[in-house]
Structure formats: C-alpha cells, structure tokens
C-alpha cells in the first residue's frame, strides 16, 4: 500500500510538472506569435523620427566656476518639475527617504577622494551640482538582476525601465556616486504640479536622471542645461567637433572618482 501510494504521488507530481512545463512552452510560443500582428498590410514599424538628437556617447561638462545657489536651484527645479520628482515633505524628508535627480553639494562631497587642503574659502563652499554620471562602464547596470537599468548602446545613456524594476536596490548599493533614489512611498501625493507629458513613478522602484532622453528624442537639450545660464554644456563626447569636446580640449576638467574605472560622462571644470 505504502508503495502504491508513493507511486501514485510520484506520477501525480510528474504529471503536474509536465502539464506546467507544457503550458509554459505553449504560452511562450503563443506569446511570440501574438507579438506580431497577423493582419494584412504593412507591419507596424518604429523609428527615431527626424527631430531626434543623436550621439554616440552623450556627455556633459559642468563649469563649476559659473555655478551659484540660484542657478543650482533653477536647474533642479527645471529637472524635478518636468520629471515629476516629488517634493520632499514631512516624514519622508526627515528620514532621508527623498528623491533627487540633480542636486547641489560641496566640493568635498562631490569629490571626497580628491580632497584639496587649504582650498580658498569661496571655492570650498561654492556649490557643485551632481547627477547621474551616465558612466561608460556602469556598475549599476552590472548589478541589476533584471536589466531594468541598462546602458543604451546607441547613445550611452544609462536608463531605467520602471516597468521592470523589482526594487531590490542593488543598483543603489553599486552606484559609487549616490545618484539613485528609491520610491519609499507613492510619490504622487507629493508632486505639486504633475507634468502630464511624463509619467510619475510608483512606490517600490528606483529612479535617477535620464539625461532627458525624452527631450533629446524631440530635439531638445536636457532641461538642466537649458536652465544653467551656460554653466552646463551638453554634447557628443565621441565627436571631436562637439561643444563638450572643444571645451574639454581647452580647459582642464576632472571627473568624480576616476579611480573606480566607471568612466563617468560628466566632467567638471574647477
């Protein structure tokens, strides 16, 4: 009896496994065939459009000499308002569960391993604006278990796919620049003026600066660059004739934590 029961359970188990695996295969094949429409006529196609700005590797040069508090505030406002970044309020601000894409900090925090002793007082406290570096070798992308964060091979932008992010926050641990934020709660109640052209996020996903990919697609420069009064320059790092390359050829610029081998695409003139 013992034996027959065991055999029954075994068979039942294998049948369930088999049915499960089979239906999964059917599901997969059905999925692929459904993705392409069976209807007649030309198949739908995607394209970039004529207005889109394209580059091999987008990059930015920050001239810290031109930065001051009001410009920094303007840049942050421009960025946060169009991207529906919630205003830090109440408990979330208290607990540092806030979200920021671009923000001003001091030299010693932006460049903690490049300490300059005896820096002039005004230089030491002049704001340095920091954001995602869109590294050429991004450790966050390496760490992500679902490829929810990925580097666009076409233009080097490190992007987030909010639909896919499982909220494990591995990318936040991996980022050596503290550029990433996590939605510890539903951000919507804390967004004052929601921009209908850009989605908000939901609780439980990670977000960060996207180099205004949605604006580049329609031929506009990033919002912070437009609001920067010339302190920020944006362009293709792989094009020797671009504005950023001309500036880099002229001025001595540094990057944050170059020793970590992430190859940031944001440069700082100090």
């Amino acid at each position: 009896m013992e034996n027959s029961r065991r055999r029954f359970l075994k068979n039942a188990g294998f049948s369930i496994l088999g049915v499960g695996a089979g239906s999964m295969l059917i599901g997969l094949s059905a999925h692929t065939s459904k993705a392409v429409s069976p209807d007649a006529g030309q198949r739908p196609q995607f394209s970039m459009g004529d207005k889109a700005m394209e580059a091999e590797r987008w990059g930015m040069v920050v001239d810290t000499r031109k930065l001051n508090d009001s410009i920094c505030r303007k840049m942050q406002e421009a960025c946060h308002s169009i991207h529906n970044v919630p205003e830090p309020v109440g408990e979330s601000a208290q607990r540092d569960q806030i979200i920021k894409w671009i923000w001003p900090t001091e030299f010693q925090h932006a460049f903690p391993s490049q300490e300059v002793e005896f820096l002039a007082e005004d230089a030491a406290h002049r704001p340095v604006v920091v954001l995602c570096n869109h590294c050429d070798n991004p450790p966050c992308v390496r760490a992500c278990p679902t490829r929810a964060t990925f580097k666009r091979e076409r233009d080097g932008i490190v992007m987030m796919d909010f639909h896919r992010c499982i909220g494990c926050r591995f990318c936040m641990a991996a980022c050596p620049f503290g550029a990433r934020s996590f939605n510890f709660r539903d951000p919507r109640p804390d967004i004052e003026d929601e921009n209908p052209d850009f989605p908000t996020r939901m609780r439980g996903v990670v977000e960060k600066c996207n180099f205004c990919a949605e604006r580049l697609a329609v031929g506009k420069k990033p919002a912070c660059v437009e609001a920067s009064d010339g302190a920020l320059t944006f362009g293709d790092l792989n094009d020797p004739d671009s504005d950023v390359r001309k500036l880099l050829a002229e001025k001595y610029a540094i990057r944050r934590k170059p020793n970590l081998g992430t190859f940031p695409s944001v440069f700082y003139i100090v």
Partner: protein, 132 residues
C-alpha cells in the same frame, strides 16, 4: 481504509471550496456575468474611425501593442510608430491613447473590471480627468 467517510467528506469540502467561483456565479451572479460591457467611444475617437490597428485586433491585442510600445520607447528610444495603415503615431499611452480615449472610466475600466484585470498603468501614467 477505515477513514472512508472522513476522506469523502474532506473531498466534498475541498471541491466545494475549489469550485467556489463557479457555483457562486451560477447561483448569485448569473445576470451580471452574462453581459460583457461595451467600451464607449468619445466623439474624437468616433471621428478618427480607426485606431492604430483594426478594432477587432485592438480589442484582443491592445496589451501586446502597449507592451511592445513601452519596450521600444523605453529601451530602444524609438518614439515614432508607423502603424499598419501607414499613419505615424507617438507610441505613448498618456499622450496618444488617452488623447482620443479620454474617457478612461467608460473605455478602459469597464472591461477591465468585468474581466477582473487590474493593470498598473495608471500608477504612473496619467489620464485626462486626473490632471484637469
């Protein structure tokens, strides 16, 4: 096999519980369950006559199309969609779909509620009434 009665009682209870949705609907929900709601079109949608694909195709496959849209826009950065009918669209839920179908409650929610699906699109994407 002395526990025959217990086993049979157990099986009966088990099947009653497992088949709950069926017998519940048979007894109590018959009227509601039988009629599938029709999505309502706005004036703008009526005028356009055609969506990005045939109506029948949209009805069954709109989730696959949206899925493809979001992957192509977010991951490949391609933001122009040339549909089967040759027209160009901005592949965007908020800006294209909801522009015509601005009546989310009567267009989207009705069927979704009927089919008891709860897509999380609206957790992030806006729809017209919300921003007004």
């Amino acid at each position: 096999m002395n526990d025959k009665n217990k086993i049979i009682t157990g099986l009966v209870i088990f099947f009653l519980v497992v088949l709950f949705p069926f017998w519940f609907n048979l007894i109590f929900g018959a009227a509601d369950a039988s009629t599938a709601p029709e999505p309502e079109l706005t004036e703008k949608a009526e005028k356009a006559e055609t969506c990005v694909a045939e109506t029948e195709h949209m009805r069954t496959e709109h989730m696959q199309i949206l899925d493809q849209w979001r992957d192509t826009v977010v991951r490949d950065g391609q933001r122009i969609y040339v549909a089967e009918n040759g027209k160009e669209y901005d592949p965007s839920l908020s800006n294209t779909c909801m522009d015509c179908h601005s009546n989310k409650e009567k267009f989207c929610d009705r069927c979704h509620n009927y089919a008891s699906v709860n897509p999380y699109c609206w957790d992030c994407h806006t729809y017209p009434e919300e921003t007004e």
